[in-house]
């Protein structure tokens, strides 16, 4: 071990970059996969074609989470967030093209899209958080932030593939703000406020497995076909809405992106146009953790390196101490 270690270290100086690279290569090839979906996970299905842009979800979210209005216009009369922020956990954005005449049409059309936490199956924010402040509930799969330990390093803000966690920059005691699927309301028997208030069922709350099934059902319908769209909670008390099926883009965004998310989307306009870019199915968290663990698994590599380094330093010290104490005038040269 020591001799290979020694060679390894010397190589670091004289050409060992390739050796280290060789050490990393197999690690990248194997490693941990995406985390699996939690069977009991809860989430949202947002159907852009049902959304009428009424912003009821935004208003209800502010109320449920006790968030202040955000003023981005010259007149501070309305809550007008441009994006998610430290004051806004969900926002309805609008895609528009050309004359914006027809809803859910890519050319000369418009469409609404919701932004809020995707509650990834394999969340980057949980993986990167240095203090376990970001946590994914093992039962509901809801990703929450614990402000009691959060150090505000904003690694989650920077790393989130969907740019969801936001930070308060204008206060000395800032917090990370993100949608937590109204977890605090669930103890009282309520579910996500945005879904509860949605008049059209565009934002639907439920078990992710059921939501995925419902999304697939909608995709299987032919455009114009009349069907029933559940409102509020899938399988809940609210009555359905009867409406005509829109022309969907044949994709459920969030089914496999980043290893899957618990907030899934349907839309009539390509998702890339709605601010949801194509993403690989392998989660960034699994890529990063594979690399991290292949270097530090069981602390074997670091401990071995420490042993080797100690040996080298010790041997070096012995030579030096001799020189030092005998005050030998010769310079240090070739070592045996």
């Amino acid at each position: 071990m020591t001799s290979t270690r020694r060679e390894f270290l010397r190589d670091t100086l004289v050409g060992g970059g390739s050796a280290l690279a060789a050490g990393l290569l197999p690690a990248i090839a194997s490693g941990r996969d995406n985390l699996p979906r939690i069977p009991t996970a809860r989430g949202l299905l947002y159907d852009s074609t049902l959304c009428i842009g009424c912003k009821a979800c935004m208003a209800a979210c502010k109320q449920a989470n006790d968030l202040p209005p955000e003023h981005t216009l010259a007149e501070p009369y309305w809550d007008t967030p441009l994006d998610l922020s430290g004051k806004t956990k969900t926002v309805i954005k609008m895609y528009r093209d050309g004359t914006a005449a027809v809803k859910d049409r890519e050319v000369d059309g418009f469409a609404f899209i919701k932004a809020s936490c995707m509650h990834c199956v394999d969340p980057s924010c949980v993986s990167v958080c240095p203090v376990s402040a970001m946590r994914k509930d093992p039962g509901s799969g809801i990703v929450t932030n614990n402000p009691d330990v959060c150090i505000g390093c904003r690694y989650c803000v920077a790393a989130c593939p969907f740019k969801v966690p936001r930070f308060e920059y204008d206060t000395p005691f800032p917090r990370i703000k993100k949608c937590e699927l109204c977890e605090h309301r669930m103890a009282k028997g309520h579910y996500a406020a945005c879904a509860a208030v949605c008049p059209t069922g565009a934002t639907l709350y439920g078990q992710v497995e059921d939501l995925l099934r419902e999304a697939k059902r909608r995709l299987s319908l032919s455009p114009g076909e009349e069907t029933r769209f559940p409102r509020g909670e899938l399988g809940g008390a609210d009555h359905d809405v009867r409406a005509h099926t829109a022309r969907y883009v044949p994709q459920i965004y969030g089914e496999s992106e980043m290893g899957g998310t618990q907030m899934i989307f349907l839309a009539g306009v390509p998702f890339a146009k709605l601010g949801y870019r194509p993403l690989p199915t392998r989660s960034y968290a699994s890529v990063s953790e594979t690399l991290q663990h292949s270097l530090y698994e069981g602390m074997v590599m670091p401990i071995a390196a420490l042993a080797g380094l100690s040996f080298l330093a010790y041997r070096s010290r012995v030579n030096h101490t001799l020189l030092d104490e005998e005050d030998q005038p010769e310079p240090a040269g070739e070592q045996p």
């Binding site: 990393l24 240095p130 968290a285 005050d327 005038p329």
Partner: protein, 396 residues
């Protein structure tokens, strides 16, 4: 001991002495003033929040305080790391005189990097959580980096104690510390290896938020290589700067010999860097007309230039060329990290960031404090090599 021929060197012990002289000079006064300005700005940040003095936002949540002060700053502070590897691990004691000044720059670089982290982190009062086992998060590169940097700052101050003990004349303690120093030295190499590669690994989790010219699984290796190469370059840089500033003789022969390592590291770095971009079939991104591609080529040139300058062994003995090569390498390494963290952080459209005036001044002030600390300590403590081997350890 192949690449290092045995040069004519200073004696391996008793080779350091304080520079002496007045502490208050125009230079230290200006540095101190800039430092005070930065302390004022940091105080404003603590009272009114980060947004009051910085331009960081949710799009670019890590601004220059993190990228320049921590990511680039600690790379500049890798002199101690590089020299520890070279002298203590690789047993090239002829370079021992260069260790202490390198270590001193490292100690300040890292300490002020720590200060920068402290003020940039939003909820600093929860900092204990990083060290609390209940909240440990081994999946997080940030956790590993934070632990390593904190430990390393402690290790470096310990590694620096001989200078203080020499000054104080505590020979017994000096001998005692020397006996256990080897473990400290092992840590002084392991910890920066871990967190300097970790600083690269931090970006792996960013996925496509990082421009493909920079995003790769080789980021840890590339960051480690630049850290060591910049460590050597900063020793060269700092040596010439002190020669100039303190009107001391130049240490060219020693540096020239050492610069051979830089050449090797540059060759490896450029091979991995360019090979990686080519292997990922992303080279066409370097041919686009945009800021990222431009910066990529600037990087390549800044790494290639010192390599070409120092390739010919005769050139390494020319101080001006050596200094210039070191300068290029430092700029290249700094630009590489700036690119990877800020300029290449580009995938979310609509967001803009440029450091605000107070943000720049705070960074400038922290660097000033670092330089000021170096000047003051090298005047007071036996840090710099004694001129031409006539020195003795104080109190000996």
């Amino acid at each position: 001991m192949t690449p290092f021929s045995s040069p004519r060197v200073l004696r391996p012990s008793g080779e350091h002495s304080p520079v002496g002289g007045r502490l208050l000079t125009p230079v230290t006064a200006v540095l101190g003033l800039l430092g005070l300005v930065s302390l004022f700005i940091l105080a404003v940040r603590l009272v009114y929040g980060l947004g009051a003095v910085t331009n960081i936002n949710d799009g670019y949540t890590w601004g220059t305080w993190i990228v320049l002060d921590v990511m680039v700053g600690t790379a500049f502070a890798c002199g101690g790391y590089a020299m520890t590897v070279l002298v203590y691990i690789n047993n090239n004691w002829e370079y021992h005189p260069l260790v202490r000044p390198a270590l001193l720059t490292s100690v300040f670089g890292y300490t002020l990097g720590g200060v920068a982290i402290f003020v940039d982190v939003g909820r600093y009062w929860n900092g204990w959580a990083v060290f609390h086992p209940a909240y440990a998060q081994p999946n997080s590169v940030m956790w590993e980096v934070a632990l390593c940097i904190t430990l390393y700052v402690g290790v470096m101050w310990l590694e620096f104690t001989p200078a203080i003990l020499e000054k104080a004349g505590k020979i017994i303690w000096l001998r005692r510390t020397r006996k256990i120093m080897f473990i400290l030295l092992a840590f002084a190499v392991l910890l920066p290896s871990m967190h300097q590669s970790g600083l690269g690994m931090v970006l792996v989790a960013f996925g496509d938020h990082i421009h493909p010219l920079w995003q790769t699984n080789y980021l840890p290796l590339l960051f480690l290589l630049t850290a060591i190469a910049m460590g050597f370059a900063v020793v060269v840089f700092e040596s010439y700067l002190t020669s100039h500033g303190f009107r001391r003789p130049m240490e060219t022969p020693l540096l020239a010999n050492m610069s051979q390592v830089m050449v090797t590291l540059l060759v490896i770095f450029l091979c991995v860097r360019l090979g990686d971009v080519a292997a990922r079939h992303q080279f066409h991104r370097a041919l686009e007309l945009n800021l990222q591609a431009f910066c990529f080529w600037c990087e390549v040139i800044l790494f290639l230039a010192p390599l070409l300058m120092l390739m010919k062994p005769a050139n390494r003995n020319r101080p001006r060329l050596l200094f210039y090569a070191a300068l290029c390498l430092l700029q290249g390494g700094a630009l590489y990290r700036l690119d990877a963290y800020l300029i290449g952080y580009e995938q979310v459209p609509g967001w803009h960031y440029f450091p605000s005036v107070p943000e720049i001044l705070a960074t400038l002030g922290l660097v000033s404090l670092e330089v000021l600390g170096f000047i003051v300590l090298s005047k007071v403590l036996p840090v710099l090599p004694a001129p031409h081997g006539v020195a003795h350890v104080n109190g000996r």
